[in-house]
Symmetry: C2
């Protein structure tokens, strides 16, 4: 087992990573202050892991709230089921909410913990690669609104994060690939040597080599923890974590939540950021193609939806959270392994990027 510490003063918390951690009650106990525990999971994950986690919590009064699965349910109506469960069971403000599932469960359970009686304790047990390397670290919680993704939420830190790498054995391959999109992102934005490591190990990761997975998760969490440490509320460097996300959110919003997986949209969105960085002369065509090739080997889409026009992208990006006073800030690559956040680029380059021939770029690598 490896343990990282996210250092945020009095809100610091540990991330434990390793095989079989679900069966280790001693990792949870130090982070549960009261006698009540509420496990929030979904219809897919609960049958696989709820009983095991509950056994590790035999010392507590445990309830579970099982939500429908999927991004389409990341809304107020579903969140309300958590409050209903907590209030019906008369959980008080010393209860501990545990998220058992992927990013959607983590975001909703975390937001519910942030809001329930104005804030109760919260533990993350992420069971997808995406949530293990991304949404379980950094304190972002929330739900979607019909007019935009993650528009309602809170910054709220967990007491601890428990990552059992063995849970990836039941993850559908498409979701494993989606998680790899975020893993590759860390290499692109701040860790060029990790990018090289990934090129050597991407095949091993796709066949669930546990040693490779542990290393990839650990390096990803360490990279994110480092960035979050430096900038908890996303005023500066943290925004580089959104590489590919502005384009990606536009894809998700346009296609409808859940049609493309988040990681898939991030992969295609990052390819657009690579293309724009190349058009700005910051990276070479060969470097751009290196990124495209790695996403392809990870089983990810590198072409935005054919049906999306330049106007579609601009419309959806205009209400992105990264818009400050109407100027569109984008995360781009100054070099491979070094991202920057900037709104200082010719508008024509953005337009050319939105209109580029990604099908041709993808075929060159095919």
């Amino acid at each position: 087992m490896q343990t990282l510490k996210v250092d945020l003063g009095e809100r610091s918390y540990p991330i434990h990573i390793g095989e079989g951690l679900l069966d280790q009650p001693e990792l949870l106990a130090p982070h549960i202050a009261g006698r009540q525990v509420a496990i929030i999971s979904n219809e897919t994950v609960a049958p696989l892991y709820l009983e095991r986690l509950s056994r590790s919590l035999a010392a507590y009064s445990v309830i579970s709230v099982i939500l429908p699965d999927g991004e389409a349910h990341k809304n107020w109506e579903t969140l309300q089921l958590i409050f209903d469960g907590l209030l019906t069971a008369r959980h008080d403000r010393r209860t501990t909410v545990i998220a058992l599932g992927g990013g959607v469960i983590g975001d909703m359970a975390g937001f519910a913990a942030a809001c329930y009686q104005r804030g109760v304790d919260f533990i993350q047990v992420p069971t997808t690669l995406l949530s293990q390397v991304d949404s379980s670290v950094g304190g972002k919680t929330g739900i979607n609104h019909p007019l935009g993704k993650n528009m309602v939420g809170a910054f709220y830190q967990p007491q601890a994060v428990l990552i059992d790498t063995a849970t990836l054995n039941t993850l559908p391959p498409r979701e494993l690939s989606a998680g790899l999109a975020e893993v590759i992102k860390y290499g692109l934005i701040c860790d060029e040597p990790f990018l090289t490591w990934l090129e050597e190990h991407v095949d091993a990761l796709r066949v669930l080599d546990q040693v490779a997975l542990t290393e990839a998760i650990s390096r990803s969490c360490a990279a994110k923890a480092l960035v979050v440490n430096a900038d908890e509320r996303e005023s500066g460097v943290r925004a580089t974590l959104n590489l590919g996300h502005t384009f990606g959110h536009a894809i998700e919003t346009h296609m409808g939540y859940g049609v493309w997986l988040h990681g898939e949209a991030v992969a295609a969105g990052t390819v657009m950021a690579l293309e724009m960085s190349q058009r700005l002369g910051w990276i070479s065509a060969q470097e751009r193609d290196r990124g495209i090739r790695l996403f392809q080997r990870a089983g990810l889409p590198v072409i935005p939806p054919e049906e999306m026009t330049e106007a579609d992208f601009l419309e959806h990006m205009a209400i992105d959270k990264k818009v400050i006073d109407g100027r569109l800030r984008l995360v781009l690559l100054r070099h491979m392994g070094e991202a920057v956040v900037t709104d200082d680029y010719p508008k024509e380059i953005l337009q050319a990027t939105l209109g580029a021939d990604y099908r041709a770029l993808a075929q060159l690598k095919g």
Copy 2:
């Protein structure tokens, strides 16, 4: 104009109190970081003050969201109207949300500000006596749930609070009295000399003497700011602010939100706390009656609803936020002007308090 400072480190903010402050744009400008402003108000207050406040904000891009009036609308469905308004107008994370109205508007606009894009700036412009002395100070925001009051919310501090005492000229007398319940509370819990001052000025307050109102609001805010300074997250001394609220919330929940005004329920609830303190031998019968008399002179109810049984109270109090691990903590008076939070009392005294003859106590003062 008087200005108090609530000292919370980097989240400190000023409270400006005085006549005609709505027409002083220079008080708002230092607290608005972006170009977008969203005024949240309701159908009752907006016709009276929205245009004046908007004129003071002529330098900004201003939208308004007008909600239905009343505690019955303090729920998710109404909160959603704020998010709809912000997103439709494409307000970004540098927007400033301004609450123009009473406690319900402040709680909802504050919670919306806490959640919108995970937190945007917020200014309180309270227009009822209750919200001026209570809900605009202390950072509590939130909405009700069918199973409990204020069960979903956040601790979120405003950038500033602007109290225009002239807005009380349009406040219904019943709501003025409800606000006086909280004013009297400050005397009871921590300021015996203020209690004496109130006995001398309660008639002046009820006829809207501006000098007396300014003094009462200022002393109340100062008392609350002092308590909040000492204990931002309600772990200790802040809980004394809930004098009368545990009994009062039970009354509000049982009767249905909005049937009794919050201040009315607090008044009757505080009389119950006085009665229990007397039964514990902490205050005399004369001191209890002094409190009852003051509430009566302020035009407030001092008898809990006839229809509520002991069992009704216990049922509703069992999910109160002040319940820690199943033991019911209550705010009681050790002396007049000194409140304590305790769960160390004989259960029989609580039961006797719930069954006491408040009609007889009230008639003695009549």
